[in-house]
């Protein structure tokens, strides 16, 4: 019997998330290696219309559970729907994006099916007919290879922005299979009351993935504007070192450092910050650190991945310009 791959393609407000397409693309690659078929699962309310587009990415079948009760993600609702599809299709491998939904749904389905889960995978492969998932452990200090030798489906959630989205082939189409999961609102034990969007300026620093931070070198509250522009262009938040907060240029809630907030963003851009140890204590686990400072001796350069020794007022606007150009592509 062939080993098939099922991908839960997460949609949000009627559009597939980028990581869903990445998962589908990778799923297709694995299915091909296994000599099996790729199917996709689309769950929500009013989502039939978009299901077909997954055919272009290699899905042979797209299973759709369309029900008003599934308008918002709930673990009870989506797990029931997905497990129904799994029961119907008996895939060997189940993939989904490692998003807030994926991180919630993956474990629930894994427990319900009594199978293994590898979360936040950065590489996937097939060996001897089994999925080999590579995932970081110990905050990325170790890369582990995980297999699920006996149970099915072997579940893996994929880290966003790691796998590539395949070139869609519009000549391909998928068979849409409607699945009635027999949802009833009463069986949903959790309910989303409302969603509070975080506007750019009120993003909590500890949750921001990108932070642009200013220090003593800024010279004034109004000078932070260029950092705000850079942050906006990158979709990040603005932080400040203790000197800037003490000088009254930024509010204390934006202070990064030992006596402020500890942050661990994917990108931390330190402008006019010397990098005293108390500041480093608050941001050194950032994945990538960029430092801009006039002083070549500034300790921040010892921890920065990329450093620019120059006047930040010349550098930052260019960074913003380039970032905007890049993201527009």
């Amino acid at each position: 019997m062939a080993d098939n791959v099922l991908v839960f393609a997460e949609q949000r407000e009627g559009k597939f998330r980028k990581v869903a397409l990445e998962a589908v693309s990778e799923g297709k690659r694995l299915a091909d290696k296994l000599g099996g078929e790729l199917s996709a699962a689309v769950i929500g309310s009013g989502v039939e219309g978009i299901a077909g587009s997954l055919g272009a990415y290699g899905a042979a079948k797209v299973y759709v559970v369309d029900d008003p009760a599934l308008e918002s993600y709930t673990s009870d609702g989506y797990a029931k729907a997905l497990c129904r599809i799994i029961k119907d299709t008996e895939p060997s491998i189940l993939l989904m994006g490692c998003t807030s939904t994926g991180r919630d749904l993956g474990p629930k389905v894994a427990a319900r099916m009594g199978t293994g889960l590898a979360a936040d995978c950065t590489a996937l492969d097939v060996k001897d007919g089994k999925l080999v998932a590579t995932r970081p452990m110990y905050a990325g200090k170790v890369l582990a290879e995980v297999v699920c030798p006996d149970a099915t489906p072997q579940i893996a959630t994929v880290r966003p922005n790691v796998f590539s989205v395949a070139e869609p082939d519009e000549s391909l189409s998928a068979e849409i299979v409607k699945v009635d999961a027999e949802m009833s609102p009463e069986e949903l034990r959790t309910r989303v009351r409302e969603v509070i969007r975080a506007a750019g300026a009120t993003i909590d620093l500890t949750e921001a993935q990108i932070i642009v931070s200013g220090g003593r070198g800024m010279g004034g509250a109004e000078k932070f504007k260029i950092l705000e522009e850079l942050a906006e262009a990158l979709g990040g938040a603005v932080g400040a070192s203790r000197s800037a907060v003490d000088a009254g240029w930024r509010d204390h809630q934006f202070q990064v450092g030992q006596t402020g907030k500890t942050v661990s963003p994917v990108l931390y851009i330190a402008c006019g910050i010397s990098g005293a140890i108390q500041h480093l204590a608050g941001m050194k686990t950032s994945k990538v650190i960029v430092a801009v400072n006039k002083d070549p001796e500034a300790p921040i350069f010892k921890v920065a991945d990329y450093g620019i020794v120059a006047d930040l007022f010349e550098v930052v606007p260019i960074l913003t310009e380039e970032a905007k150009k890049l993201l527009a592509e």
Partner: protein, 272 residues
């Protein structure tokens, strides 16, 4: 076993002892595990938020017990004592060689059996353990116990009649306000609270609080059902990540250097 007494709120908190995040992690050559001799172990930071929240709930209501449940080897007792020193009432230590090497499923299974012997209205734990980073045990446990869960929570409000909880759940760029029936499993995210520091008074009191040790047999589980044997996902290898390239000063005129950095962020660091 679920409690249900209206005026009392019993909370169970799952706690794991993990390597300190600053520890030097090295793969033991030829194995799929790490060198442990030089590591300092601590209470999983996310679990600390859970313990603190449980204590605050107890303090607010004035009644109820906070029970810490943790699975780990002998030295995990230290982590349990720390939580008792913070103010928890008692602890259950799942300690058995058979538990070693558990994946999320096997751990959740053993924990679910342990919880069957306790009375609780709410189960709290950290959203993930900072060693495996799989972020699955809390959710899998809820499923095995047949109760709902809300994960990655930054705020919890228990209803007056203690039958419901309203949680703020962190999703991308927003906060979802989710209502759940109780009992439920709620996993804690950073920002839920600031965990208290155990006073010396608390440490001394903790010495006299009970830690109930449970092995697999006492939970009604056989060795095949738990630990490495009972795991559905198995780690077959561990390698260090590719070395982080040394940081470098990007040369050139400011504008040039800036452009270069943006390029590097896209191509090399793969961030934007």
């Amino acid at each position: 076993m679920i409690c249900g007494k209206e005026d009392v709120m019993n909370v169970v908190v799952l706690v794991k002892q993990v390597p300190d995040t600053e520890a030097k992690i090295e793969v033991k050559p030829g194995t799929a595990s790490i060198v442990t001799e030089t590591i300092t172990y601590v209470v999983n930071p996310y679990d600390e938020y859970a313990v603190e929240e449980a204590l605050r709930i107890k303090e607010k209501l004035g009644e109820g017990e906070v029970t810490i449940v943790g699975m780990g080897p002998d030295k995990a007792t230290e982590a349990l004592r720390t939580c008792l020193a913070m103010g928890a009432d008692k602890a259950v230590h799942l300690n058995d060689d058979a538990f070693a090497g558990s994946d999320s499923y096997a751990a959740a299974l053993a924990l679910s059996k342990a919880l069957e012997g306790l009375s609780y209205d709410l189960v709290l734990c950290g959203k993930q353990a900072v060693d495996d980073d799989n972020a699955a045990v809390g959710i899998e446990l809820a499923e095995l116990l047949g109760i709902p869960h809300v994960a990655v929570v930054t705020k919890i409000e228990i209803s007056e009649d203690k039958t419901k909880a309203v949680c703020h759940r962190e999703i991308e760029g927003a906060s979802e306000v989710v209502e759940t029936s109780l009992p439920a499993v709620i996993t804690a995210q950073k920002g839920l609270n600031e965990p208290r520091y155990a006073s010396l008074k608390g440490i001394m009191q903790a010495k006299r609080k009970p830690i109930d040790a449970k092995d697999a047999a006492s939970l009604g589980l056989s060795a095949e059902q738990v630990g490495a044997q009972g795991s559905r996902a198995k780690i077959v290898s561990m390698t260090p990540p590719p070395p982080r390239p040394a940081g470098r000063i990007v040369p050139g005129e400011p504008a040039e250097a800036a452009r270069e950095v943006v390029k590097l962020l896209r191509d090399e660091a793969k961030i934007i």
